[in-house]
Symmetry: C2
Subunit: 381 residues, 2 copies
């Protein structure tokens, strides 16, 4: 079912996309029927720049319930996904040529978005507790960025979550040195409610802008996300030519997603995929632990869609992509996640697109490729 | 039904939006049911940067049939509307600070989009045949722009259509001086097939990029449009951080609109609204001709959504907005359509949002305001 149609049957653990087999197609058909029923035609008309008012209302309710933190509709701007949100933020809050600090490693497509607005990226080290705030503080004595871009929960690619004490320290530094924090929190709702640290805005609602998305919790094809920030920053973000001309982001998709939330479809689906992804992630980690030697290391994570694997020193993940492909498995080599080209002996696996049986086959293939590398000191066990 | 809920019952002829009462809500409900039925979940997955392949196929067919000019799916890029398309084009084909020639007057929100990418706008005169190509040629001897932005059919705000001979001359100049032409052709399909000049790309498929939109032919809320250009230019346009990260524009809305086209809904609706808008435009022109004095002049147009009215010299359209509002009617004053602030004694009326009975009331209110102005030489008849 989740097989790709490639001739050589490659299992693609490189792409960060959901399993087509579990996308809620029938449920969104019901949501669309509901959305396009009523007497109003708002879903087909131009909408306000800030986005659908009804969606902002139901989204605020969803976020408040799931994060345990009150969220106001007036502090939400509907976007065409987190990357569109990041693009709006960098356009408004970083002049061309401005410095932006990004985690090392980080979400590589964010680099594209930031660089295409002329930003200069500077990497900040991370560890298993997330962004290294002490390293950040040392860097701030040299240069203060327009903002720090961080993925504070179920990090892409490492899977780690920024601890509560580091969250506090990060916003203290933001206050002290005068920079913004852009928190890419697209995986926040995949955590069990109450188990992960509260969203970063809880620590400083003024200096933190949060990026969210329905891509990971409903389906990428709805192409909707949001920015949560103060109303005054939001007013600056909607001062945008494309939003003024065309009105807010997709009223029709917004109406469908609003119906999905108000009909309970989003809550129900979220509970299901939380369990599915958690099972798949644990499955892959267990398989890797069981099949690889002790000189391989899986980054400990508490959730999310990714497994970040450290290979023995001297192994080149980029060079392993071709033999892995030949063996029928694909991954993302570490250096693509670094704006400085670091992490040559790391790779990222996405557990979302396949069920456990396919993931088992994929990890078997990957392990064989990794273990037969001649550059390694130890033998194949 | 088309009454607004404003306390003073203002009829808003300023906004360029369709009549909510005739938006095809039930038909798009059917299209959504069709789109979200099949076994495939492509409408909920990330899609290719160029946009939904099935939509590009059905759109190419629609355009080919209605314009009489073959259109290739490979030359179509799906956008979130014409303004998003313009934003992609200016990002890629005009460096910050570059000069862009725009018609005077022109679509004012386009100015916002162009300026927010750092463009410097230079106005080119127009007349009742559209862009003044002789004036353009003189200007080109001083400076060659990155591109000329033109609305060549049912111009916004003037309603005029660029003649065939001027179309030929425009592309000759583009070839001779080496600039691109960005043709905002969002009203092209509102013309009767075969009656208006062929789209501008017919004259030079290499140098002309065409912007299209479903906003005027289906509903603004679907937030979908397209760019038609050569495959090589298209490859440069999709080299965009937001498109790479999030994939192509709204797969879910694309699936719905594809179904609307393939089920025949788009053709059927297009035939209906062509007739509706044509009737409304003629109605307003007839009313204005009958109620205003000879020193007012309606720009002759062959179609579209707008009526461009020239007031007697000395009348200030911007200053008339407040008394008009008090009298219960709104319009757009001429200077907003000029990047140089020209056209003080012009105003634009949009005929799309209301039926004939409301348009009659609106024109009565407007005429009273215009004719009682003390600065006029003649009396009220």
């Amino acid at each position: 079912m989740t097989d790709r149609t490639d001739v050589i049957d490659v299992i693609d653990l490189g792409v960060g996309q959901p399993d087509p087999a579990i996308l809620p197609l029938a449920r969104l058909r019901a949501a669309a029927a509901h959305a396009l029923a009523g007497p109003g035609a708002a879903s087909l008309q131009y909408g306000p720049e800030q986005g659908s008012p009804v969606l902002r209302g139901s989204l605020a309710d969803l976020l408040s319930r799931h994060t345990g933190t009150p969220v106001e509709p007036a502090e939400l701007l509907i976007t065409a996904g987190a990357s569109h949100g990041l693009d709006l933020v960098v356009e408004r809050f970083a002049a061309p040529g401005a410095t932006i600090f990004v985690e090392d490693p980080s979400y590589f497509f964010a680099f594209d978005v930031l660089r295409s607005r002329g930003a200069r990226l500077v990497p900040v080290p991370t560890d298993r507790d997330g962004l290294d705030v002490e390293a950040l503080e040392r860097m701030l004595q040299v240069e203060v960025p327009a903002f720090v871009y961080t993925v504070p929960v179920f990090h892409n690619p490492t899977g780690v979550t920024l601890t509560g004490s580091r969250r506090r320290r990060l916003v203290e530094l933001a206050q002290e040195y005068g920079f913004l924090v852009v928190a890419d929190e697209v995986y926040q709702l995949l955590g069990q409610p109450g188990r992960e640290p509260a969203p970063l805005r809880t620590f400083d609602a003024e200096r933190v802008l949060s990026l969210g998305s329905f891509s990971k919790i409903l389906g990428p094809g709805v192409r909707l996300g949001w920015i949560e920030c103060t109303a005054s920053r939001l007013a600056r973000l909607v001062d945008n030519g494309v939003l003024r001309s065309g009105g807010g982001v997709s009223p029709i998709a917004s109406a469908i997603v609003h119906s999905a939330i108000s009909l309970g479809i989003q809550d129900e689906y979220l509970a299901e995929i939380r369990a599915v992804y958690e099972r798949r992630r644990r499955h892959v980690v267990r398989l890797l632990d069981g099949s690889l030697t002790a000189d391989f290391q899986v980054m400990p994570a508490t959730g999310g869609l990714y497994v970040w694997l450290r290979l023995p020193e001297g192994l080149d993940a980029t060079g392993l992509a071709a033999p892995a492909e030949a063996a029928g498995v694909r991954f993302r080599p570490g250096p693509v996640f670094s704006c400085a080209g670091n992490f040559p002996n790391y790779l990222r696996i996405c557990v979302a697109p396949y069920d456990e049986s396919r993931l088992t086959v994929a990890v078997q293939r990957l392990s064989r490729v990794l273990l037969r590398q001649p550059s390694r000191a130890g033998g194949v066990r």
